[in-house]
Symmetry: D2
Subunit: 330 residues, 4 copies
């Protein structure tokens, strides 16, 4: 019956006109059949584990064989490359570092699309350029498969505890199928629109996050130098129009809040170089769409300068430290 639903669904699917219905029925939804997983890094590994916890047989691969061991011990089947994953699973999740990796994993010589089954559901949770997501979706469609972008917000901790937020772009009719799997790994699964809008939402959020974090750091630093107590200043901002997530939930000033990286010498959290990467994506999409983003652009440059000055692996809230006067500096 799922097959019927899926088949009928394609009748309205604007971008799926080449799909051969005879093959659609091969993708099983209701039962917990195998799910493929490509990319078992810091994020992918706990995500795949959560699929196993929810009872899904997982068939996985990674370019680094050692990354696969832990999952193998938990019962996952490990294969040599993405094409073999696609040969055995008709629902596949990919979690990769950047656009070139995604292009290779989907369209490379041993890529998913080499052996993808018609009707397969391909979900990419990497954070990449939305233009690449659109390219992958078009390539998948030619093979009769469906591609969705579903980048996450939340770090390794949220990946482990299954509390990620997924922002999903792609054919709306596929959203229920995608949500079934993503719900095993995340607390929120939000449908954003056509392919690429998941990436767009992720990129937009992180650009505003970076602006808010640098802005909060500048503001707290200025206030402290003007004689304000940091906790009091944070309290005032948080009851006023200066309030933002960086001021009330992840304050960058050591001692203002408990349990955030600023209280732990900016270790853990979301690294400066990862933020710089996301801001680079935001900049690229802004340039391509001729959209002025003056503060987003300057935020990108500031995180880039921080990477050049040794802050690459510190949490992105360390911009407070970067802007403060060094001890001994004039």
């Amino acid at each position: 019956m799922a097959a019927v639903l899926r088949g009928s669904r394609y009748l309205v699917g604007r971008c799926c006109r080449n799909v051969d219905f005879a093959f659609v029925s091969t993708r099983s939804m209701a039962s917990k059949t195998q799910v493929g997983f490509v990319g078992l890094g810091n994020m992918g590994n706990p995500m795949a584990k959560n699929l196993i916890k929810h009872g899904y047989p997982v068939i996985a691969t990674d370019v680094f064989p050692e990354s696969c061991k832990e999952l193998q011990e938990l019962g996952a089947q490990i294969v040599d490359n993405p094409a073999e994953v696609a040969d055995k699973a008709d629902r596949i999740i990919t979690m990769l570092p950047s656009s070139p990796n995604v292009i290779d994993v989907y369209t490379g010589p041993n890529g998913i699309l080499k052996k993808v089954k018609k009707g397969s559901l391909l979900i990419d949770s990497s954070t990449i350029d939305p233009a690449v997501s659109k390219d992958m979706a078009a390539a998948a469609e030619k093979m009769g498969a469906v591609f969705m972008d579903a980048p996450v917000s939340g770090g390794v901790g949220a990946a482990s505890s299954g509390k990620l937020t997924f922002m999903v772009g792609g054919a709306e009719e596929e959203f229920t199928a995608a949500k079934e799997l993503l719900s095993c790994m995340g607390a929120n699964v939000v449908y954003c629109g056509q392919v690429g809008t998941g990436q767009a939402a992720k990129i937009c959020n992180n650009m505003l996050l970076a602006i808010g974090m640098i802005g909060t750091s500048e503001t707290m630093n200025l206030g402290i130098r003007l004689g304000l107590d940091p906790k009091l200043l944070a309290k005032i901002l948080n009851m006023s129009s200066g309030r933002c997530w960086s001021s009330d939930t992840y304050n960058p000033v050591p001692g203002v809040m408990e349990g955030v990286p600023s209280g732990n010498n900016y270790q853990g959290g979301f690294g400066t170089q990862l933020m710089a990467k996301d801001l680079g994506l935001a900049q690229n999409t802004a340039t391509n769409t001729k959209t002025p983003v003056p503060l987003g652009s300057l935020a990108h440059q500031i995180y880039r300068m921080m990477c050049a000055r040794g802050y690459a692996t510190k949490d992105f809230s360390s911009v407070f430290q970067f802007l403060r006067e060094e001890e001994g500096a004039q």
Copy 2:
């Protein structure tokens, strides 16, 4: 008895060493004696009205006689200049456009300090450079009077409804006395620390507000151009780490929220030129304290460019409109 308390308080008052206790008793606190008010503009006028509503006899002045008429009809006594106000009231509130006006009203030829009574409480609610507040406090102290800075957040609407927030700087022992009056005009009265910290808190909040507003506008514009629905994008940001007051309470995109200036062609609200003024103060204090504020500084420049391009009197959320492509532009 209030006099006793006030006298004993001075024993610990670091900056009040020249006060002649014999004169302290002349300022009455418990009873509703006359309160002076200087500056009856868009903000000062409704503030003074609220004092009258709360039963305080008001003695007021303004450089524009016509600004005084309404208050006079409500029973206020109108005098010629600030010195005459100081001659008749030992608690005075000032609400003026900028630093030079404050300097003139306090230290000019017909200024408050020409006739101020010893022990008087002088509260300045103008938004000015904290360095000027400190200068006024020092000048007041020489005359045996107490100066506090108490700038407000909230616009004309909040002034009319008595819902302003006051951020107060000055001797902590005076805060209770100041709060008695300020509570008639505001919903929140927050003690911030030594003289100038009220201004510092106000300036810091508005700098972060400007950064958040421009950041939100850039982000919403970018997301829309990438194919996201504006309401959906706002919803995603507001449940994520991009959340800020400008995204969840005062969204700059027409149609996303009700009852904000973006829904009314950016009329009303907080004018771009007023924001530019506050950002100029933030820039000055940052320069004077050698504090880097890269985003705050760029925000200042953007609002300055907007003023040059005809946005001076539009609400500051019109930066969304400024960044969007003009119809017909390439």
Copy 3:
């Protein structure tokens, strides 16, 4: 004999290991044999004319047939597409608006590489991403051809008078062959290094040019508002360390210099949208190489904002006008 020289040259050519020497001799250098030209727009048209003036038979194409008429009347042979050009000429120059056009003209279904002869010299004078230049060079090498990037500085006037500057990247052994043709169209032909460095030099120059122009405009505007006479200020800058091409050769303030766009309501010259495009390329290469370019990035954003506000087709020195206060603005 030229063929011999060319053949021997390849013995040291690091990146030309697949070339079949038997075919190298087919490219003629000393005699004025046919030269192909793809892209007959505002720049390409006068450039191709200069080749004809220097006695080269030209075989050309453009996506817009009407662009070819003038050249045809001058004796050029017009063909249908780039592949046909490559079928008939072993030296080809391309002059196209942007990276996607270049990719299509070289690697598309009717692209040059479909019919390119081994040993052909392909010179691209478009201003594009250096990474695309490298891709084209690699694709050309696979076909036994040599690709060089040779973007120009100088506008339509310099193209007409043969006074362009070419910045050339590619195998050094080919530079003499490239210079033979480029010298017909330009006054300076500069060898920059490996493939892509011509683009890099062009992009770097224009980024610094944009920074200098905006900086000069801000500075002149500030000086004027501080009471300085604009001509005097320009003179002082030009004898001091503030001197730059924008201050001493192309001053953006109307009335300071003769014969520049600022004296002609910013008509002619180098359009704001073209500068915005080049700054977008600079931003992309900076992002890809993780290079901080804070002023270059802000310059990009300012030209982007100007495009959004109706300045797209005005000369890029109109940033002086953009930053000045509008008449009637506050």
Copy 4:
């Protein structure tokens, strides 16, 4: 006769209406009578020496007595404070670190204006806010004296060799008198206009200089990372529209030029903190005149960040080093 000329000159002096002609004749111009000098720091000391070399008897003072020793040995008379200088000399030059020092030296309890003679010529070579220059001029005028601002460009080396450039603001009729003295210390003495325009010219030049230097550093760094040889890139820029003083005269990349601080680990030259100070002045004047200076403002912030990160005393061309990737950084 000089006195006659000076007296008649005042008949057209718009801002000199309070001058008592009877006293004007007391200032001697043609003969080498005593010249006062206040501020014997790194710049003031060699400047005063050059006056002595030119045969002027110098009477000097400095807040640090040890700064006066060298000059005393050369025959200068050392007195206790600026008032005493003014008591004995009717031509005085001041060279001080910042606005507050200037205010104190002129209007403080032992300031010049306490004992200034009518008709005295007071020349301030400090780099300060032009608004302060105007205030000093107004204060001097009340005492019947003439104040001119004459900030310098050129560093300690130029001060020692008498090769400074002076930018002079003030009554045009006084310029000849000022030039007589300034020519002993500088190679160029430029009249800029009314009081404050000397400062304006200096501030404008240095703002554009800072923009050019950071822009050159970004550009050179980007080009190098794109594979260009730094010397070749500098050569290309210098023959193109990217040319500026920082690229052709003071290149910030080690090895590109001889005899500049970049070749000496950025020692000597013009310190980053001094540039940050001048940019702070530019920012203040821009804020006060409501002039948008986006690049100037960001340049200020970058130099401010550099000061916070340990670059305060390095030459301002070290921004190239600041923007480059640290060894070992990602």
